[in-house]
């Protein structure tokens, strides 16, 4: 983005209905929730039991439980949720109170205790630029983690959420990263950023001691975990795998700030920063939204005309389409609204090789598409389907407008997984 000043994320008014996801994982049994009609206070648990891998679903505001429902997240994943009817105060406006955690923090060196505290705080981070945090932390109990990497790079440079949050909440970011290093036992902390754009953050990181600010140009898709770790640490992370497999804990700045908020403010994660880029208006809308709000709420409050629009979660080139009712939680926080797709009749491949040149993973997208058309999984493996990070750059540059990304996804669904 070419925003010269880092903007603030104004909180969106509390919607009347919130749908708080019960688990970030799709296709699993929903946790048991408290009975319908139960009134819950802000920060109170909504379920009676959850898996060890999942954060506790908590009420972002005072509300009444309506029941369970099915929702889709901003990464397009369907998950079960609990529907809440927010409770208004005397003036008829829903209360928006930032709750605090009731339990006292565990001892500094109690690694398991801190993981549980983050779970209790409803800390849910699982998006493209910041893989599943709780899963990485659980992994750290089983295998050594030597490095914590905090990425201040934004997946989409047009939506600089990470950079904005890092510049506004630098102290929480540093505290959060340091806490993650203590939990994992990592000895090295790297904060990756474009220092030229964030000189204050770089200076604060340097002054904090024990961590380094690493310069990196925020070219798309540099924030992708696989590309980032390959560039930064020369470690080869297969797309879809957790960085903890390679001894690294990777978070983005929004996640680090959320951890810092748990430690400093003792606040659970009830809201999150969100950015929507409106392609027709050429404008960016930033907001702090409650967990369980929907994209529809943002569009309504900001009066964003969106009839006939297509919405995407995450970077626009990755083309993860979502509905306007997608729910905000720990998944993608960078959103796009663009006019509906025009029908394109692709030309034959002219072998220009631009997809090969543009590919950050050094694979052969044109060869992959050819393999998909021939349903040749062996050739697809030869051309590097396992290394594809699905950044969509091949689709972007292809002059023939061939659906390369769609082909790769189709092939993966058919058996070859990254």
């Amino acid at each position: 983005m070419r925003v010269t000043q880092h903007p603030t994320f104004d909180p969106l008014p509390t919607p009347e209905i919130l749908r708080v996801p019960l688990t970030p994982r799709g296709g699993v049994e929903a946790p048991t929730i408290r009975p319908a009609g139960t009134r819950v206070a802000a920060g109170e648990r909504l379920a009676t039991a959850v898996s060890q891998l999942d954060p506790w679903p908590i009420a972002p505001v005072a509300a009444e439980i309506v029941g369970t429902c099915s929702i889709t997240l901003t990464n397009g994943r369907p998950v079960p949720a609990v529907e809440l009817s927010t409770i208004c105060d005397d003036s008829g406006v829903p209360e928006f109170l930032a709750p605090t955690l009731e339990a006292a923090p565990p001892a500094d060196n109690d690694r398991g205790g801190w993981i549980d505290r983050l779970r209790e705080a409803g800390l849910w981070i699982d998006r493209w630029t910041s893989p599943n945090l709780l899963a990485q932390l659980h992994d750290s109990l089983k295998r050594p983690i030597d490095t914590v990497v905090c990425s201040v790079l934004d997946g989409d440079p047009n939506l600089p959420i990470g950079a904005a949050i890092a510049s506004q909440e630098t102290e929480r970011l540093i505290t959060g990263v340091r806490r993650l290093a203590k939990i994992t036992g990592a000895t090295k902390i790297l904060v990756v950023m474009q220092r030229r754009l964030l000189p204050d953050v770089a200076a604060a990181v340097k002054a904090a001691g024990g961590m380094s600010a690493v310069e990196m140009v925020n070219d798309y898709p540099q924030a992708d975990p696989s590309i980032l770790l390959a560039t930064l640490l020369k470690r080869k992370l297969r797309p879809g795998r957790l960085p903890s497999d390679l001894g690294v804990l990777l978070v983005d700045s929004v996640a680090a700030v959320a951890v810092g908020r748990v430690e400093i403010d003792e606040q659970p994660m009830t809201s999150l920063p969100v950015a929507l880029f409106h392609h027709s208006r050429n404008s960016t809308h930033l907001a702090t939204m409650l967990v369980g709000s929907s994209l529809h709420d943002l569009l309504e409050v900001r009066q964003v005309a969106s009839g006939g629009f297509v919405f995407r979660g995450g970077d626009v080139l990755r083309d993860r389409r979502i509905s306007r009712h997608a729910v905000m939680a720990g998944s993608e926080i960078a959103l796009h609204a663009s006019p509906g797709p025009t029908s394109v009749n692709p030309d034959p491949c002219i072998r220009c090789g631009w997809c090969v040149e543009a590919c950050p993973s050094n694979i052969h997208p044109a060869g992959l598409l050819d393999s998909v058309q021939r349903r040749d999984t062996k050739a697809a493996e030869h051309y590097g389907i396992a290394a594809c990070v699905e950044c969509g750059l091949c689709d972007y540059v292809c002059p023939s407008r061939l659906p390369i990304l769609l082909g790769i996804r189709t092939m993966r669904k058919g058996g070859i997984k990254g």
Partner: protein
């Protein structure tokens, strides 16, 4: 619950981003080939300047016939649907640049009308493109196939022999050569050559013919390499800037280089291919056996630059003449970089370029200077599928 966050009913102003995010780069297939064709404007202009209105007419005949044929041929079969007008425009422009200007209209001393060769070449190009796989599929460059077919059918008719004088640029008739006898030895470069009155063009011996005769031992008198480069070939400026008879697009090395730089700037071609072709061509020409002296017994030497009898300066000049008198640079910039024939991966492109450069050196020294580079490209492009398979990029992850 100790912190109350403010509710802001009024809407904060949206942040204006100056650039629109696109879902696609905007470059499409016609755009690619039209940009390629734009790069050909530079050598084409030089050709029209030096070979006059006949060059312009020749280009028009080839391109228009190819376009008309493409419109018809698009309707034939599934593969016909893959023919794109912009692609055919680019290919026909390249083909037109490989043909001589004197084919336009008619030769005065020919027994038959030669101008139909030009529209026939355009039409053949479309048919061969269709036969060889259509857009982006073929392994043989359709222009190359068409050109080699034309050479096989019409042979010496395609050999150019004259160039316009300075006072007749663009508008002169390249066949207006007076008595028509070639001038034996040219000392002055074209830019400062005295104007011969009452004729627009001069019939000149081509450097490629002289070099070819030398490497084939076709001189009937004693000739050393030193004497050849000193007395028998035209000034090297004529090859670099222009002033030699030749096909339309090969009038000026500088114009070809500018066209190549334009295509590089627009990101359409990979610099490795022309660079490595020319470098490997030069190195191979230095190494390959070459006659030192043509006499009763021709004296061939490997690495002639190390032979004290000729001296490095003479060998370097000879090699430079060989490089500039052949269509190697044209082939390297406008044909070897064609998406349909060059490999897609970086290393494969490098190997492909080196192979073509070496083959071009061998074929132009021992077979034909004017056709050798094209034969090399034909062989090199056949290796492309194997190079693509063997030298695919190594995944980062």
């Amino acid at each position: 619950m100790d912190t109350v966050l403010p509710i802001t009913p009024e809407q904060p102003p949206p942040i204006e981003a100056p650039e629109t995010v696109l879902l696609h780069s905007g470059m499409n297939v016609p755009g690619v080939f039209l940009t390629f064709a734009s790069g050909a404007i530079f050598p084409m202009t030089a050709g029209i300047a030096l070979y006059g209105w006949r060059a312009m007419l020749a280009i028009a005949l080839v391109v228009s016939s190819a376009m008309s044929m493409a419109v018809v041929w698009r309707r034939i079969g599934l593969r016909g649907g893959q023919i794109r007008v912009a692609h055919m425009l680019w290919l026909s422009v390249v083909l037109a640049m490989m043909l001589p200007a004197h084919l336009a209209v008619n030769l005065e001393n020919a027994d038959w009308q030669v101008w139909p060769i030009l529209p026939a070449a355009g039409a053949t190009l479309v048919i061969l493109n269709w036969l060889l796989g259509g857009l982006g599929v073929g392994r043989v460059h359709p222009v190359l196939a068409t050109y080699l077919l034309m050479v096989a059918l019409f042979g010496t008719i395609l050999n150019p022999g004259s160039v316009l004088q300075r006072n007749s640029l663009f508008v002169g008739d390249v066949l207006d050569v007076g008595t028509g006898q070639p001038i034996a030895a040219i000392k002055d470069p074209w830019s400062s050559r005295p104007i011969v009155p009452s004729q627009a063009a001069l019939r000149l011996p081509r450097a490629s013919e002289q070099l070819h005769a030398f490497t084939r031992g076709n001189y009937d008198s004693w000739v050393s390499m030193d004497a050849l480069v000193r007395d028998r070939v035209p000034p090297i400026q004529d090859l670099i800037l222009g002033g030699q008879p030749g096909p339309i697009g090969m009038a000026s090395i500088v114009a070809i280089a500018i066209g190549g730089l334009f295509l590089l700037y627009r990101g359409l071609i990979d610099y490795r291919i022309p660079l490595l072709i020319m470098l490997s061509l030069m190195l191979a020409l230095y190494v390959l056996p070459v006659p030192i002296v043509i006499s009763e017994k021709t004296d061939w030497r490997w690495l002639a630059i190390r032979d004290p009898r000729v001296g490095w300066a003479t060998v370097m000049t000879f090699v430079h003449y060989e490089m500039l008198a052949s269509p190697a640079l044209f082939m390297a910039v406008f044909m070897a970089t064609d998406p349909s024939v060059r490999p897609m991966a970086k290393w494969a492109r490098a190997v492909y370029a080196i192979v073509i450069g070496i083959l071009a050196a061998v074929s132009q020294r021992y077979i034909s200077i004017s056709g050798g580079p094209f034969v090399a490209l034909l062989v090199g492009s056949l290796l492309t599928p194997y190079l693509d398979r063997l030298l695919r990029p190594k995944p980062l992850i």
